[in-house]
């Protein structure tokens, strides 16, 4: 009596890949229109821009010292500038014709000091109050000038002094520090996005469970397809956001001239992005499995808190590692799955991680992701159709279907 099924020209069976794509597509299109998400993303981008502007503001405070000179000549200006170079400040020499005008300029704070009769027997420096840097500067310059004059008076012909050759033992130290700072900023972004998108995954799982739509979904697909679609969809969105921030950050840093070595900067940023992908896969699977144990958004906190502690620990250690990338703590934790995305990223950026160390950390991370996806997927599948109270981990693992 098996009559032919009605014709369905429009229907072809979905392949697992297409199923995952459909789920991922829904996640992206729903999330991307969510106001909370858009506002959150905008805030993150603004935060990055704010940090850049802050950096620029700090750096632009490079000191120039304005010195008024009365009765000086080119040699005096030259000596002041040379002395300024030695002291690490840029000197701007302002010539004044009479002492009164120079005095007013000092009083008004237009110049930091006024040097009177620099070539005379008794040069005088007018300052508003204590001399400070200007005093050292002027003193040095006047001494130099006096020395030159006396030597030439004595008929000593000065030979050009030999140029000192500088040999840096760790030429990258500065660049290492800079890269570590970039990595640290990157790790903070990575941490925020990990938690944010992990949270999205968890909320999505509970939403499907609490609205019971999951039963309808599982009538058409396997739990792993639903899980991977959700993780991949939100992951792509997270990666896109990470890249947007990275591009804005790098472009901003280059435009504002915050960093010394653009190549190094881009390398560090790419490292952080790569670690984000691994870290996200790790935490998203954990968060999804944890979230599947509860049926209400209110209960989410209780199951997520333990899982949230790990990235917090990772961030704290990463902050530590930025200051001391060679510490044992940083070295050891950079191999611990879940911590490595943050700690290893900083160590790598600081130039303190050997290639094999990175390879081992990545490998450990990949293996743990595989294990977590497997175990987490089982918990997820076992707990998904059990609504009501909180499902015990053991029951979820034991459930066959």
């Amino acid at each position: 009596m098996s009559a032919p099924a009605p014709a369905h020209s429009d229907v072809t069976p979905n392949s697992p890949a297409r199923m995952v794509r459909l789920v991922a597509g829904r996640e992206i299109s729903t999330r991307i229109r969510d106001k909370g998400f858009l506002v959150g993303s905008a805030v993150l981008v603004l935060l990055i821009l704010g940090m850049l502007v802050f950096q620029v503001a700090i750096n632009s405070g490079t000191d120039t010292t304005r010195v008024a000179v009365v009765g000086g000549d080119a040699a005096v200006s030259e000596a002041l500038r040379a002395q300024g170079d030695a002291l690490g400040t840029e000197v701007e020499v302002v010539d004044y014709d009479d002492e009164g005008a120079a005095r007013t300029a000092v009083q008004d704070g237009e110049v930091e000091g006024a040097l009177l009769s620099p070539s005379g027997v008794q040069p005088e420096l007018l300052v508003e109050s204590g001399g400070g840097q200007v005093e050292t500067l002027v003193q040095g310059a006047v001494q130099g000038l006096a020395l030159d004059r006396q030597l030439s008076d004595a008929g000593v012909q000065l030979e050009a002094p030999p140029e000192v050759e500088v040999v840096a033992l760790d030429p990258d130290a500065d660049a290492d520090l800079e890269a570590a700072i970039v990595a640290l900023v990157g790790v903070v972004v990575l941490y925020s996005l990990l938690l944010l998108f992990g949270q999205f995954v968890a909320q999505g799982v509970v939403e499907e469970k609490s609205s019971r739509v999951v039963e309808l979904l599982l009538a058409t697909m396997k739990p792993w397809q639903l899980l991977s679609g959700k993780i991949i969809g939100l992951g792509l969105l997270g990666l896109a956001q990470m890249l947007v921030i990275a591009v804005i950050g790098v472009a901003g840093a280059l435009a504002f001239d915050v960093v010394e070595l653009p190549g190094r900067l881009i390398g560090t940023v790419l490292t952080v992005v790569a670690w984000f992908v691994l870290g996200y896969a790790f935490y998203a699977a954990i968060f999804a499995a944890a979230a599947s144990l509860v049926s209400r958004q209110e209960d989410l906190g209780s199951v997520l808190t333990p899982a949230t502690l790990l990235p917090v620990v990772g961030l704290v250690i990463a902050l530590q590692a930025a200051q001391d990338p060679t510490s044992t703590l940083a070295r050891v934790t950079s191999f611990v799955p879940g911590l490595s995305p943050m700690v290893m990223a900083v160590r790598q950026a600081a130039g303190e991680a050997a290639l094999w160390e990175v390879a081992v950390a990545v490998l450990i991370m990949l293996v743990s992701i595989a294990v977590i996806v497997r175990v987490g997927g089982r918990i997820y599948a076992g707990a998904l159709l059990r609504t009501g109270g909180k499902v015990k981990l053991r029951d979820a693992l034991r459930a066959e279907s």
């Binding site: 019971r212 058409t220 396997k222 609504t387």
Partner: protein
């Protein structure tokens, strides 16, 4: 033919299903009745692959139902479930695509079914903004949108007003006319009696009665025959083979015939007493049948 064959399922020590079997022909509307906790939902969830049977299987066109077949089944779970924050139209399109439709036909089907079930103007509303009755319609539309080969609906009529019941019933009858076997569970037995070609009554984990409503009636324990013969003595039928007198009052007799007893012989005996004013089987309602089946010993399967 959709065949449910010997399903057994236990949750711990609780034996929920003890060998549930029935079959539904294409174009047949099958009403699945049973008391609360009898195992209706478990049976349907097993058919949808949401629970695993300890024994037995579900077959469609002779082959065990697998994931590919399940995507051709329209399902409405007992616990209604939709994405609350998704718009009606998008939601229906999504479910159509999950069942294997391409984007464009899925959108067309979603539009069609929303229109058809009176949700045309609510297509761009989020589901959570709809009344419960309208959410129920969306749920049904989600089951129908992929033009399924089989429909399995758990309590589709619960919570609907009479107008909603009528429009849902009409939609289901349409599906039957398309040749789709429809299985639905319900507590509203009058509705089942009105709509269904076949009925299965589940009690304590097994089917205690199944067949068409007429078959159930004829197979019912103690078929009752009412004969009004005004001139007959009270004991006119007492001697007839296989006949028990239930009540006799001034020529109005109710007889219970054992299976195989000849009703024509009863008629002849009645006519022998004189005028016969009424001679008819008493039609037990489905409610009576249900009550009998559920309270009787489980041995009385049809």
């Amino acid at each position: 033919m959709l065949e449910i064959d010997g399903l057994v399922k236990a949750y711990g020590s609780n034996q929920v299903l003890k060998g549930v079997s029935f079959s539904v022909a294409p174009g047949q509307m099958f009403g699945f009745c049973g008391s609360n906790g009898a195992g209706k939902t478990t049976t349907m969830r097993i058919a949808m692959g949401l629970a695993r049977a300890d024994a037995g299987e579900v077959r469609w066109t002779g082959r065990p139902v697998d994931d590919a077949v399940r995507r051709r089944i329209g399902y409405m779970p007992e616990e209604r479930g939709l994405y609350p924050k998704m718009k009606v139209g998008e939601q229906l399109t999504y479910f159509a695509r999950l069942h294997g439709m391409d984007a464009a036909p899925a959108a067309r089907a979603a539009e069609h079914w929303a229109e058809r079930l009176g949700l045309g103007e609510r297509r761009n509303d989020k589901v959570e903004k709809l009344s419960l009755g309208n959410q129920q319609r969306v749920q049904l539309a989600a089951a129908l949108v992929s033009e399924p080969d089989v429909l399995i609906l758990d309590e589709p009529f619960s919570g609907l007003d009479p107008v909603g019941v009528d429009s849902l019933a009409e939609a289901l009858l349409d599906q039957c006319r398309r040749g789709v076997p429809v299985v639905f569970s319900s507590h509203q037995l009058d509705l089942v009696e009105r709509l269904c070609d076949a009925v299965g009554i589940l009690a304590r984990g097994s089917i205690v009665a199944s067949g068409t409503v007429d078959e159930l009636r004829s197979g019912a324990v103690g078929r009752q025959l009412r004969v009004v013969a005004p001139d007959a003595p009270d004991d006119w039928a007492a001697a007839l083979p296989g006949v028990r007198v239930v009540s006799a009052q001034r020529g109005d007799t109710v007889l219970e015939l054992a299976p195989g007893a000849d009703d024509q012989q009863v008629l002849a005996a009645a006519l022998a007493t004189g005028r016969v004013a009424h001679f008819a089987w008493r039609e037990p309602t489905l409610v009576e049948l249900f009550r009998d089946a559920v309270t009787a010993t489980p041995a009385v399967a049809a």
